[in-house]
């Protein structure tokens, strides 16, 4: 920045830097989008997994019937006979986003199907998310760090796992909303602009629309505000950034039907209100401090504190009493299991039974954020040099998200952006230090000559912005209005920086090697991310493939079964299956299901679990009482598909037993072991799930060898008396059984009637001259 005395090249360099960073950002967006297309290229453009199918179905409804019908949609195809009010129980952000996108495209006469739009929503929004990361990190640590963080986020595996093309889930748009909300908060904090504060509330509203994870924002930002107040960083900017967010944000949040009065009633939101009160008290104190003399102020403080304490105590007591009177202490089950990781496994088997609600293992950290795990500490240190409002927020963000990710695998997704930001800062700082060291020591480059000639865009940007106070952010994007003012400032700053830079010089060789190693690290990260995107996270899970010596083998059994149900059963038939397949059945087969992945009614799920764990006759009675016509089970024993119903069966027993005590888990276990071979308990061998899974299985190979459990099954030859097999897919992965009608008591009569009609047929040819 020494070249600043001559204004001409400086503006040119600014322009060049801006264009370059814009170009890099564009490329990052393209990267973020295209790395997520592996699933489309390797498989097909199709919606993935379970929840996305529900979102897809809701989007279809929205595009077909319009927004008003969507809010009032009572879905009678699920949770039979209860139904579900979709409009009031769904986070509408994702659906509305995709629906709007589709509408815009259609008004431009671009006839893309709803499915295509849904499939590509997630990649588009990950490009947005990486741009938002750029903005956020830029506010924290400058453009260089921003670009690095954006590039890292564009391909972080943890985020890819939730946003590949086809993974049409809430998280797809929510991560963007999360980062963007944080960016606007920091921006408002740095500028003290009410405009950004209002935008922040709107971004928060979008986040509330999109994902239940919005409570993370509404707790993290108050925590940060509190931190700022405690560390003596209170300023009017902080007030402007926070107060509008709480007021507007809460008002907007309660407009979302699924949140509604929860925005002011549940404990998840109390922290924000508490901090809202505190920040007002603090603001008042600062104000009074400004108008009173120091002595008067002291007197006032003692007076207020003594009265205030009493009032606060009373209010707190009332609050605690109120909260304590509710059984869950005002917290929802999922939030509680975050605070107490053992809560779910103790009390709510449904939450515990979902694999993404389990705590992650260490390898999954390496898998999901890879080298970022090592860079994060460096980034945290960089954030403290020096600590600003923005960087303290980043530190707080990473600290809390690390904790949450440790409780649930799913929340690794919240950690990923934080890790990217931190690693971006670390990498960019490190590059800054090393390239500077090289530059200062290179022969031929005089120390006073302008340091420009950066080899990468990152480096240039790094030079432009150095860490300073929070005003820094104002300068990085010099608005045309206060360019002049700024110039003086930067000039002064650049002198300071020159001295700083000279102090931070490392040996040349060390710097070169370190840069090389950093590039290597980055390369390793890129390779890992591409591998993860291509191999680990692209499978749509409704189509399975396996490679054998004679080429690729495709297992498309799920869609075969759903397709069969869709075309060959009555429209109003009810299909019972374990809740995992509920969303897919309603979306792909268009049939009514008893339970689905929105596990809102434990009793209903327990009823299905009980039926599956009961003997045939009892199960038939349960299903018949629910008006069920078909029962669908997933069976992997023939081809070795491990996540089938037999492996999930213990959860059915547990959930069923939780409500209906006659189902006891020990009855299904032999000496505490879950087995299906000849050692299995009779209860196990006679339960419906066993029978439906293994019905006539022995005839395939003569022995009944289960390739998932790697044993021969216990009971091989048996007949079904109340169910009949109506469809089994090609690889036996889905089996559909029909409930036999209750025994007919007037069998003799019907026979007669039949013979009558047939005799009629042959008896009337005379009347028609043509027969």
């Amino acid at each position: 920045m020494a070249a600043l005395d001559t204004p001409q090249p400086s503006t040119l360099r600014h322009a060049f830097g801006n264009v370059l960073s814009l170009f890099i950002l564009l490329l990052i967006g393209v990267l973020a989008f295209s790395i997520r297309l592996f699933s489309v290229i390797k498989y097909e453009s199709v919606i993935h997994e379970f929840d996305p199918y529900f979102n897809y179905r809701v989007t279809q409804f929205l595009t077909k019937n319009g927004i008003y019908d969507f809010w009032n949609w009572f879905d009678d195809r699920t949770w039979y006979p209860l139904g579900r009010v979709i409009g009031g129980t769904v986070f509408p952000g994702l659906t509305l986003t995709a629906g709007t996108l589709w509408r815009i495209l259609n008004t431009l006469n671009i006839p893309l199907s709803v499915e295509t739009v849904c499939v590509f929503t997630a990649p588009i929004f990950s490009a947005f998310a990486s741009w938002a990361t750029y903005l956020l990190t830029k506010e924290v640590k400058g453009v260089g760090a921003g670009l690095t963080a954006a590039a890292l986020l564009a391909m972080v595996p943890s985020y890819i796992s939730r946003s590949v093309a086809g993974s049409y889930d809430n998280e797809a748009v929510a991560i963007f909303a999360l980062i963007f909300t944080f960016y606007l908060y920091i921006k408002a904090l740095n500028t003290g602009s009410l405009f950004y504060a209002t935008l922040n509330a709107i971004a928060y509203f979008y986040m509330v629309c999109s994902w239940g994870g919005y409570t993370f924002i509404i707790n993290l930002i108050p925590m940060h505000v509190l931190l700022c107040i405690v560390t003596g960083r209170y300023s009017s900017r902080l007030y402007i950034a926070y107060a509008p967010l709480v007021v507007l944000g809460t008002l907007l949040a309660s407009l979302v039907p699924v949140v509604g009065f929860n925005a002011v009633m549940t404990s998840e939101h109390f922290a924000s209100f508490l901090v809202f009160i505190i920040i007002h008290v603090v603001a008042l104190v600062y104000y009074i401090k400004g108008i009173l003399s120091p002595q008067m102020f002291k007197v006032a403080v003692t007076l207020v504190v003594s009265i205030g304490l009493i009032v606060c105590g009373a209010v707190l007591a009332v609050l605690i009493a109120l909260v304590a009177s509710s059984p869950t202490k005002g917290w929802s089950g999922r939030s509680l299991s975050l605070l107490d990781p053992t809560y779910a496994s103790k009390y709510i088997p449904i939450i515990a039974s979902v694999s993404e609600h389990q705590p992650p293992t260490w390898p999954s950290y390496f898998m999901d954020i890879n080298v970022l795990a090592f860079l994060v500490p460096a980034g945290i240190i960089a954030c403290f040099l020096p600590l600003s409002d923005a960087s303290s927020f980043a530190v707080l963000y990473i600290a809390t998200s690390v904790y949450f990710s440790g409780v649930m695998v799913r929340l690794m997704l919240v950690l990923a952006p934080a890790a990217c930001i931190m690693s971006g800062i670390a990498l960019s700082e490190a590059f800054g230090v090393f390239t500077r060291s090289i530059k200062f020591q290179l022969p031929g480059v005089s120390q006073n000559s302008p340091v420009n000639a950066g080899d990468t865009g990152t480096v240039i940007q790094n030079d432009v912005v150095k860490t300073e106070k929070s005003e820094d952010s104002l300068k990085e994007r010099p608005s045309r209005k206060n360019k002049k003012k700024e110039k003086d400032k930067t000039e002064r700053a650049s002198v300071v920086r020159q001295i700083e830079k000279r102090l931070l010089v490392l040996p040349l060789e060390a710097s070169v090697i370190a840069i090389f190693l950093l590039v290597l690290l980055g390369a390793f990260y890129v390779v890992h991310c591409v591998w993860a995107a291509a191999e680990a996270y692209s499978a749509p899970s409704i189509v399975l493939t396996s490679r054998s010596h004679d080429g690729l083998h495709v297992f498309d059994d799920f869609r075969e079964a759903y397709g069969w149900l869709r075309h060959n059963t009555e429209v109003d038939d009810k299909v019972a299956s374990w809740w995992d397949y509920g969303y897919q059945t309603t979306a792909m087969a268009n049939r009514t299901v008893i339970v689905d992945n929105n596990t809102w009614n434990n009793t209903h799920i327990a009823t299905v679990g009980t039926a599956m764990s009961s003997p045939e006759k009892a199960a038939w009675e349960i299903f018949n009482s629910l008006d069920v016509k078909y029962v669908l089970v997933v069976f992997g024993g023939l081809v070795g598909y491990p996540s089938d119903d037999i492996n999930k069966f213990l959860w059915m027993v547990r959930i069923g037993g939780g409500v209906f005590p006659h189902i006891k888990e020990p009855d299904y276990l032999r000496d505490g072991q879950y087995r299906i071979d000849s050692q299995a308990t009779p209860t196990m061998l006679n339960c419906l799930m066993y029978k439906l899974s293994y019905y006539r299985f022995v005839e395939t190979d003569g022995k009944g060898f289960d390739r998932v459990r790697n044993t021969e099954i216990g009971k091989k030859y048996f007949k079904l008396t109340h169910f009949e097999e109506v469809f089994t897919t090609h690889h036996w992965m889905v089996r559909i059984f029909k409930l036999k009608p209750p025994k007919n008591r007037i069998r003799g009569k019907t026979k007669k009637a039949k013979s009558k009609t047939s005799s009629k047929r042959s008896g009337t040819p005379k009347k028609n001259p043509w027969h």
Binding site: E44, R566, R696, T728, T729, H771
Partner: protein, 472 residues
């Protein structure tokens, strides 16, 4: 005054009535002339598929004075409803040098026909003079004419069907000598009506010869036979042919397929289906063959819920064959829907006619082999800006027009919609759509995009150079 007016009216009405009577008289052409007689008639009924093909060879002689310009074919009402196609040709020349000249066949209406008999009339190339004779080769096809009995079968049973027809040929003319041969798919025939002389050997059933039958003689027969062919019926087929003058024709075909044979009853056991393919599910089918044009590209096969991975494409210079497998084997009464899409090069199917207009020459009908299409809709999407579309089809089809908006269209594309019911593979003959098109329209959309981006950049530049802030 009033009386005269009434009188006038009465006269006018009576005159009108008289003329309309005359009109009716002339329209409903005189009842089938009995001047013609058929010397020999041979009928071969092919029941090997689910489409019944009947080949009729008639030797017609004019015994009257007046020359006869048309020959009538009679059908019972039931058969008439199932008729998909009637073709006729006149045989010219003696053996070896025999050639066939195609003749025009049209349904004709005769309200006073006995028992509601329906007719098709064959227009001869030149009227048949006195005592002249001509040999006619006639092919007609019946769909949905094999009635499964029993109507419901289980997985292990084979499919039995009834075929109703007459032992003697229904004709408005006197037939001197006739015989009928019925070809069955297997030698398994449960029962058949005997009208002596009747003879059966192997897969052939022979009725006749019968001598000197009067006009409209009819003797119903029922043949109960085994037919395990794929009763593949496309209930609805919508083909969309989209022409792009940038070099490709995109065809999208939406199928609603059903197995129209005896309904499947009770269980479907996969283990039996897989281990005993010869007995289990013999009447079911699991793949179909679609014949696509040569040089076909970007073929896809999918349904509402995604790609169907079981298909195979073989291409050579004459034709492309796409072997498709629905998601599950189709048993009687089971249904499936799917979409086949592909692109073909423009120059193979789009030509310029003498008048300067262009025409598309494409195959009518369904590319699936041996299937009946109950309702076929062909939509030819012409490029934006094309004018004066007209259709030339070898048979009567219902026509209508639509407008479709596709990628960035402003005025919309003209869509020519052709509809036909009861389509059989023999309908796969070319039809033509003529239209006028100015190549300038090809540039409309690129220019639109260019100008949109140009305006966008201009707006950006303008914004960057304007200071809109209130504060200075």
């Amino acid at each position: 005054m009033g009386a005269t007016a009434n009188f006038r009216k009465a006269i006018i009405f009576s005159v009108l009535f008289f003329y309309s009577m005359l009109l009716v008289k002339t329209l409903s052409s005189s009842p089938p002339s009995s001047n013609l007689q058929i010397l020999t008639a041979e009928r071969r009924i092919d029941l090997t598929s689910h489409i019944v093909r009947v080949y009729l060879t008639l030797k017609v002689e004019n015994t009257g004075e007046a020359p006869a310009a048309e020959v009538l074919l009679a059908f019972s009402p039931a058969q008439f409803d199932h008729l998909a196609l009637v073709k006729a040709a006149a045989a010219v020349g003696k053996k070896k040098k025999k050639t066939y000249l195609p003749l025009e066949v049209n349904p004709s209406d005769h309200p006073d026909a006995p028992n509601g008999t329906k007719y098709y009339s064959i227009s001869l190339l030149k009227p048949l003079g006195k005592a002249e004779s001509i040999t006619l080769e006639i092919l007609y096809m019946l769909t949905h004419s094999l009635e499964p009995f029993p109507a419901e079968i289980s997985q292990s049973e084979s499919q039995l069907v009834y075929y109703h027809d007459s032992a003697v040929i229904l004709s408005p003319y006197h037939i001197k000598q006739q015989a009928s041969m019925v070809k069955t798919p297997t030698s398994k025939v449960e029962s058949f009506t005997r009208v002596e002389p009747t003879d059966r050997s192997g897969t052939e059933l022979r009725y006749g010869p019968y001598e000197d039958r009067h006009p409209y003689s009819y003797s119903p027969v029922i043949i109960h036979l085994e037919n395990n062919n794929a009763f593949a019926v496309v209930e609805e087929l919508e083909r969309e042919i989209e022409i792009s003058h940038w070099g490709s024709i995109q065809v999208t075909e939406h199928y609603k397929l059903a197995h129209a044979g005896a309904r499947h009853r009770g269980i479907f056991s996969r283990v039996e289906y897989q281990s005993r393919p010869s007995i289990s599910g013999v009447s079911s089918f699991k793949h179909l063959l679609a014949e696509l044009p040569p040089r076909v590209h970007s073929v896809y096969y999918r349904d509402d819920i995604g790609n169907i991975s079981s298909s195979r494409l073989r291409t050579n210079s004459k034709k492309s064959e796409l072997l498709i497998e629905p998601r599950y084997p189709l048993f009687g009464g089971w249904k499936a829907t799917f979409i086949i899409g592909y692109g073909v090069p423009l120059q193979d199917f789009l030509f310029e006619s003498d008048g300067g207009s262009r025409y598309l020459n494409y195959t009518f009908g369904c590319p699936l082999s041996e299937t009946v299409v109950d309702k076929l809709t062909i939509k030819v999407v012409l490029p934006e800006g094309s004018k004066n579309p007209s259709v030339k089809a070898p048979f009567t089809v219902e026509q209508s027009m639509e407008t479709k908006y596709s990628y960035l269209d402003v005025i919309g594309r003209t869509v020519v919609v052709l509809e036909k019911k009861n389509v059989v593979p023999e309908h796969n003959v070319p039809f033509q759509v003529y239209y006028n098109f100015n190549p300038m329209f090809m540039l409309a959309e690129p220019l639109m995009l260019v100008s949109a981006f140009f305006l966008f950049f201009i707006a950006c530049i303008a914004y960057l150079h304007m200071d809109l802030s209130i504060r200075k």
